[in-house]
């Protein structure tokens, strides 16, 4: 893992190797998108805007989410014109944090750039 600087890729560029596929970055997620097929009009704006290409399609129609890579940013839910996508807590039962822990956790989350989009929803 820790290679000489000479063995590291130029400028830290990360190439697509089979190993990369094993990194399931979806485990960062704190909230996940869920989808109401009845409300969906297949405009695919979520597919266009998903920064992780984690919107699945079948024959050019919305087919769900790739939870292996979805980081739970919520852009799909925000962008959906028919409110067919909703963000729900990743764990069904999230223990209600202590007020102090919640503040510390939120600050840490912001620092790392992956805080909850809306902290109140997770309660």
């Amino acid at each position: 893992m820790f290679k000489s600087y000479r063995a590291l890729p130029l400028g830290g560029v990360i190439q697509a190797t089979p190993d990369r596929a094993k990194k399931k970055t979806g485990d960062w997620r704190e909230e996940k998108p869920v989808w109401d097929e009845g409300k969906c009009v297949n405009c695919l704006l979520c597919w266009v805007r998903c920064p992780e290409a984690a919107i699945l399609t079948e024959e050019e129609e919305m087919a769900g989410f790739d939870y292996d890579y979805c980081k739970g940013c919520g852009i799909c839910a925000h962008t959906c014109p028919t409110e067919a996508i909703e963000m729900v807590p990743e764990e069904e039962e999230v223990p209600k944090p202590e007020p102090e822990r919640e503040r510390a956790g939120a600050a840490q989350g912001r620092g790392a750039g992956r805080g909850r989009r809306d902290g109140s929803k997770s309660e």
């Binding site: 000489s4 600087y5 400028g11 560029v13 990360i14």
Partner: protein
């Protein structure tokens, strides 16, 4: 091979010479924002774009920070990329210049050197260039419009060399070179195109069959090693520059050998080190003193980054005294060029006496007579080692 150059010599400003080089190179992408005294480079180049002389994608952005960011995006996508700026514009770019270097983007940048605010001023000094001193960019300084043109033609070859892959700055003195006309010999368009060749990016983001992540987070386990890669990259510049100079000489008949031009330096007892257009003034001073039999000479530095330590030391050791002329302050220390020269000579047993002179800040004029006076002053073995100022009202 006989030198094949355009038949007509042209009268061009430094701006025009740089813009002509850009036209001949025809980069894929140029992103820029106007700032005095750079703007005219882009005026001329935009005209080439509008008139269909080049197929370059010219991106007019809302700030230099955006210009540099757009250049990085384009370079990472796999485009040959250029920009130009000066002073505050360069200051605004600097955050992204460090990133361009770390992401190994071979972006060629013309810098129309201008004093940094404040006080606000539009005229030449090298304080803007010194912003890039530690950024991981190769820096060339031109004495005249011809050198600015020649360096622009050479720059992509240096930047894009697989051992380098760093931004290259071509510095030309604002107004003194950018806005004055000079006789410039352009190469034929085809020769330049052949010389720079096709840009073959290593990891183009647009190569969707080989997807990459560029510019990722590098925490303590990786940051140091990735910075170390940049050391090797910039240290490759002198070798690559010499290869490119040799090829350019075959093409143009113009010989650039090494990292500086020595002017009556070999047998000189007293020498001066200077970068940029003031080298022309210093040559005049040297000529006048040589006519009177004084053994004085000049080291006109082309390559400031990476600093050619050994070559500069070899050229200067054994002299009685050397005046190093800085056109920028490093407030709280000696000037940036002096620090380099004195560090280069530290190991030498035949170290000359060294003196630091600051000159020309904010476009203050420097005359040949003033530089003659400098040569006279440094003869004095008791001359103060404190900073000296040329043409300053004490």
């Amino acid at each position: 091979m006989a030198a094949r150059v355009s038949e007509r010599l042209q009268v061009l400003t430094g701006h025009q010479a740089v813009a002509e080089a850009m036209r001949q190179i025809e980069p894929d992408v140029v992103a820029a924002y106007p700032i005095t005294p750079q703007s005219e480079i882009m005026h001329y180049f935009a005209e080439f774009v509008a008139n269909g002389k080049v197929r370059t994608e010219l991106i007019t952005v809302e700030s230099e920070h955006s210009a540099m960011s757009a250049c990085i995006g384009a370079a990472v996508a796999g485009a040959r990329t250029m920009t130009a700026t000066a002073s505050q514009g360069l200051a605004l770019m600097i955050e992204m210049v460090y990133i361009a270097s770390a992401m190994r983007c071979p972006i060629v940048m013309a810098i129309a050197n201008r004093a940094l605010s404040g006080p606000i001023n539009i005229h030449c000094d090298h304080s803007d260039a010194m912003l890039g001193r530690d950024a991981g960019v190769a820096q060339l300084f031109a004495e005249d419009a011809q050198e600015a043109y020649d360096f622009m033609v050479m720059a992509p070859r240096i930047a894009e060399h697989e051992d380098v892959l760093l931004p290259v700055w071509v510095n030309l003195d604002g107004f003194t070179l950018t806005h004055t006309a000079d006789v410039v010999e352009l190469l034929e368009d085809e020769l330049v195109r052949e010389f720079v060749g096709e840009y073959r990016p290593k990891y183009p983001l647009l190569d969707v069959d080989h997807p990459t992540t560029q510019g990722p987070f590098a925490l303590p386990e990786y940051y140091f090693e990735l910075k170390r890669q940049q050391v090797d990259a910039i240290n490759s510049v002198p070798r690559v520059l010499q290869e490119v100079q040799a090829e350019f000489a075959r093409l143009s008949g113009r010989e650039y050998q090494g990292f500086f031009e020595p002017y009556y330096l070999d047998d000189a007892e007293y020498a001066m080190v200077v970068m940029g257009s003031t080298a022309g003034t210093a040559k005049e001073a040297v000529d006048r003193l040589r006519e009177r039999g004084e053994r004085v000479g000049l080291l006109k530095l082309w390559l400031f980054r990476p600093f050619p330590r050994e070559e500069v030391a070899t050229a200067l050791e054994g002299k009685e005294a050397v005046a190093v002329l800085d056109r920028a302050f490093s407030l709280g220390s000696y000037g940036p060029l002096f620090l380099e020269v004195s560090s280069a000579l530290y190991e030498s047993e035949r170290r000359p006496r060294l003196y630091n002179y600051t000159y020309g800040l904010g476009g203050r004029d420097t005359t040949a007579s003033q530089l003659e006076a400098v040569f006279r002053q440094i003869r004095d073995e008791h001359l103060s080692k404190e900073m000296h100022y040329i043409n300053l009202r004490e």
